[in-house]
Subunit: 360 residues, 5 copies
């Protein structure tokens, strides 16, 4: 199963232990980080506070402050932390369950007081060979955003930077803009994956034309697999964002709408590109199969040419290798030369025939 382990997994859902009612909190994923890392950034236009805390209770104060607070949790295996946070910020048990049961389909749920968003973050592993998926859950409240990730490392560093340096409008806007920024960063990172897929397609196409072999099709197959995973992450995203746009929730300011439209456009563009890639890749399978056939054809031609030239010649030689007493030709002075001549003639005729058939 080692081989399989390297492959991107199509279906990733961990099951809650049997016998538990819905809403019971058990983390079902593998423990991907050693310790849970809790960080917060609290800001408004003038002020900024950023800290890594070891007790989740240290973030509770921000629930009532007027500033925007972004609490980020890396690592989900410590269920207690999630539970405490959930109780403090009044999250529904099913929300907490969805956070812990990673492998969810991207979705949007509007609980009046907060909006719950599940996204899939895709990252290429170091060798660019496989795409890894990680669930990012976002809770958007009236003055806070809480994000949950399975492990350390994300695509949000630019956002942190912009908050710290007050670049752009992020410090002037509310938590909905922050949530938008998180979604936008994830969608933007899909473009990187797409770019890499595109490159792989280009390389495979060249390989297909130049020198296709059994590995090529397996790589095409792998590519398909990655595209299936990407599709599964992006298609629901479309609904999600269009849901955000159409929501009448007071949590989303009108001014954020334009930005959501922008990220929606990006999502559509990603979907378009994936569908184009699918078309390309399925055409590549045809190319591959026909190139195998062509190769077989070439092999057959060589065999046929050699065999059809020499088989008749060998037959002629065989005839004069017979030991009959009365074979007058054998005694002729120029018999041998004549036979050699005949053989050359037969070979030439064959060659002309093959040339005519365009096999040579």
């Amino acid at each position: 199963m080692k081989e399989a382990a390297k492959k991107p997994r199509l279906h990733k859902r961990q099951y809650k232990p049997a016998g538990l009612p819905p809403g019971t909190l058990v983390y079902v994923g593998e423990k991907r980080v050693e310790t849970v890392r809790i960080t917060y950034i609290d800001y408004d236009e003038q002020n900024l506070a950023e800290k890594q805390v070891s007790n989740v209770e240290d973030c509770f104060a921000f629930k009532t402050t007027p500033t925007v607070t972004w609490i980020n949790i890396d690592g989900l295996h410590d269920v207690q932390i999630i539970e405490k946070l959930g109780r403090k910020f009044e999250l529904h048990p099913l929300v907490l369950e969805d956070i812990l049961h990673t492998g969810q389909r991207p979705k949007l749920e509007d609980f009046e007081k907060y909006i719950f968003i599940v996204l899939t973050m895709l990252t290429c592993t170091g060798d660019n060979q496989t795409v890894e998926t990680e669930q990012v859950s976002i809770v958007l409240g009236s003055n806070f955003v809480i994000s949950f990730q399975e492990q350390l490392g994300d695509v949000f560093d630019q956002i942190r930077d912009r908050i710290r340096n007050a670049k752009g409008r992020i410090r002037k806007m509310g938590p909905d803009y922050l949530a938008y920024s998180l979604i936008d960063a994830i969608v933007d990172s899909y473009f990187t994956i797409l770019e890499k897929l595109g490159e792989k397609i280009e390389i495979l196409e060249e390989e297909l034309v130049a020198e296709p072999n059994e590995k090529t099709l397996q790589q095409i197959h792998r590519l398909k697999r990655e595209m299936i995973i990407l599709r599964k992450s992006v298609w629901p995203l479309r609904e999600l964002i269009s849901g955000l746009q159409r929501t009448e929730s007071a949590l989303i300011n009108e001014s954020t709408g334009l930005y959501l439209r922008d990220v929606y456009d990006h999502t559509i563009q990603i979907i378009d590109t994936i569908e184009s890639f699918r078309d390309m890749v399925s055409g590549m399978v045809d190319l591959y199969l026909s190139s195998i056939s062509n190769k077989m054809n070439a092999v057959m031609k060589v065999l046929t040419i050699i065999a059809t030239i020499f088989i008749p010649l060998t037959f002629i030689a065989g005839v004069y290798g017979m030991n009959f007493k009365y074979m007058p030709e054998l005694g002729w002075r120029w018999g041998y030369s004549a036979v050699l001549l005949v053989m050359v003639l037969v070979a030439v005729v064959m060659l002309i025939y093959f040339r005519k058939k365009k096999w040579l």
Copy 2:
């Protein structure tokens, strides 16, 4: 037909005997259990009563009690029991017919006083080789849930457990939550089937890469068959649950809505995964066909190499095996050696050619 019997059946519908008007009650399935087992669980937050009864009349008292009653019938061949229950709980004849005519498509019907739900429960047989389908019919009334199953054994044991031990909120909620729990349990069991399908796909993929043979494609075909069955069970489920969510029936409490949304999400996720699996499997057929072609290619290459090397050599030997009187070479001192040399040269040239062609 033994072979066929082992395969999962695509189409399972038993026909009512000819000449019967709609609404006549005849069980059309095979008798899957010896005797019908009738059990009930009656509960509210404080009290709990659970019993297996032999007369269905023993359950009738619960029709008017304020507690939640779950009556479960395992085995449908005793039409009388169904009929009596139906009369007592005022079920429409067509409902009873649908319960007995197993093999129905999952569906939801809202008869003001009760909601009728048909589901398909899937179970893997012991050897995990085939998926078996069983119809589960659920009648949800204002203070009762009646479930009908074709045979003993189901995926509801955890629910019974939660009721007995008052785990989670089930004892505090009404019959709609119980009905939701039953649906949820069935949907959750689909994930198990999916998991097994996923594993089979992984194994088949490895087999395809390592050592594909005729069995492999048959297994892929079987896999497709199982996916078709799963699809047939899940797609209607989506409508069903979204119907439950949108219903304005007084039988569904608002608080259950959130849970229905959760199970709806799961259904979508299952559908997504099935569609991904379909994509994967159809890619596997390509892989298989091309691997056959590649194998054929390899066979042809060996034949071609051997044949094209030795056929010319044999021809040369044939020439000097001729019995012409005047063949000067035969008398030469080094004739034999020269011919052997020529043969080696021909062979080497051929080998170089094949190497250039990358056949070696």
Copy 3:
């Protein structure tokens, strides 16, 4: 064209003779019965009258009676009868045209005073080899149902029986229930066709695995053809019945709605099954093609093994068949034995190679 005649026809539409305005009544089908058979059943809860009449005028009296009258016409070639009926029951010329121009697509048309329904009845011919289609047109009025069939023999015998014996509720219900019963009988008969298709698929699948030959694919092709016909009959049915359900016509009682929902469910189930069958059958084509490839592979292997073993051996024999004067080996005492030994060695090496390649 005899061969073609046996095949189920995909497209069956007879053209009206040139130059006729729309609404002109000409029967375009073949004359499928000798004489037109006209029968009526007139009933209410207490009374029942059933008769075969030779003059269509004998049915006219029922137009105004309060009882439910079912007039059935078998055979359409006598245009006059249709015309008279049409005039008496005030049917639109286009309706009469649709009745006579058989091969119509199933459809529903609501002319306030009556509802016009066109259905396709499918029957298996005696040898179960082909599916035959027959158009059934139904006119549902406020107190009558008129049905038109192309030939004798239908799937309505059970309904007649139920009317005669007052089984079920049919005698208590109005003409809409009768019309529903007719539709239901036709839909139910599709299940029989499906069952037969399913069996054919099972048999073909076994054949595919055991011993596929050229006939197999032709049978698959034939199967596809039958499925296409079935699809063409069933898909429009769905619209038709859902149209009946949603109609606001006073001719359909509310109580019949539930029954229509039932037959609608059946239609959906049939469509589902056909689509599953389609999936299966297209998978079978893959199975077939790959089994041909596998067979070719097997043939090639035998050839390659025999050829690659014996070609080098024959070459060696050829070498020592040469007539050079100076071939020292020929004179050696153990030369012959040595050569035989070498030959055995070559053969063994080859066999080991093939075993390693898993060709043996």
Copy 4:
């Protein structure tokens, strides 16, 4: 390019000369008739006038008469005629442009005072080998219908006949009924094309089973091409007619609605049939490909049988053709007979093996 000229063209659109603003009138097609033919039929229930005129102005009087006037223009290369007509009947420049820029997609445009309809008329050429397309533009006014055709010859002769002989209701109805009749005639002519396609499919199927060759697939390909053209003409028709049905234009009388429903049904039926044909034809490609494979298989089997029988035998003969001095068998009295016997045995064993493999 001669070959191409015979093929039905998929894409037929002529481009307006560069630099012209929209609405400039230039005929872009080829000149398909020598002189433009202008005819009119003017009628009401009592009167009828039919004439071919050489000046388009002769038709202008009918603009204000209460009778129904049908002006038909055959040939579009004389732009002036179209322009004059357009000015007189107040047609929008874009309408005139669409009339002249043949190769338009069938469409319906409602300009309050008139309705503009573009249709594609399909005609089989004399040898039934190809389908030719011709654009028919229809302008339906309150008391006139103007039709524009690219060349002489159409499918409207029956309509003219019905007008002349007052057959059916056409003389009693308004211009909308006339327009309907034109559309109906075109749709009916599609059935003829379908019939021919159906026949071709039947013939090709028989050929496929009996004796498929390279031409067969090219014919299938050609068939597909024709079906694509038919589809392109029919699909938009559906929208067009349903648009006519739903229009609230005063130009369409309610009584014509039923007739439109009828022609709509026909359109759906044509679409259904085309889709079925598509399914059939794609199945035929499979049949063809597998029949090639089967033929190859048969060829390989013959080669394999002959080769594997004779190669070992030849080897044996080769062995005893060697010239070793010490080959005791050569001196044996029955050596030759024994060897012959061995050869026969080998051949028999091979034949039994092939029989077991079912290759014989």
Copy 5:
């Protein structure tokens, strides 16, 4: 990567440098022109002013004039120009970002004061081998149109000409008609691309029938690629234009609606044609694959005929080449002739067999 560079690119999106907030203006494309060219045409029915300016500020005056002003920017690498324009004409930062981030999906955005349109202009490169894409962004205001192009050279020359020479109605209409004209010109240019694709398809089809080779499939693949690009440009266009038609923006006059309907029809026609092309091309892959198979079949037949004729003959010669002492035939007077006769007979029988098999 040179090879890849020549191919049309499926996915063209440049990424904004990391760490920038949305709305930051950075041109992400390659610098396709040396210097940015700014031109304006200012006109009403009587007046016309056209000029190329070097400072974008020279266009600012037109913001308030009542005349229609068309400002065209060729080249996007000078971000300052875009920024100044944006500030002057009050464009949203996201609009400016979309202009600079070329490779956008065609789209329409309505910002009350102006409408923002993104289109893809396709141009064939000189050798007609590849299709190049260029983003054209259009801002339509109440009295101005601003268009942004990546490089010099466009399809708008006819429009400029019509403005200069007051041809058609363009000088009488507002900026919305100008914007329509730009869109129309781009859509019209798609027809040219289609025409070229159509020609390529025709040529490839002839090649496929006459003499298919490995290049052919690669060309088909390339064709598919171009069609995918075209599709990606055209499908969103459909939404875009239908959005323009349905918009309630005051910027679009009602009279322009008809023209938009016209361009909408063209878009549909292009989509139809692309889909037909797709169907054709996928049929061509089948043709190609079967032609390879047929060629292989022909090769195999030649090999089989030659081999099966000569292998038995060689065997016979081999038998009489054996050196057994007691081979009575060898001494017969007519032995040699008899053997030759037998050989001829065998060959003739074989030839008759092949003729019967239709291999000759």
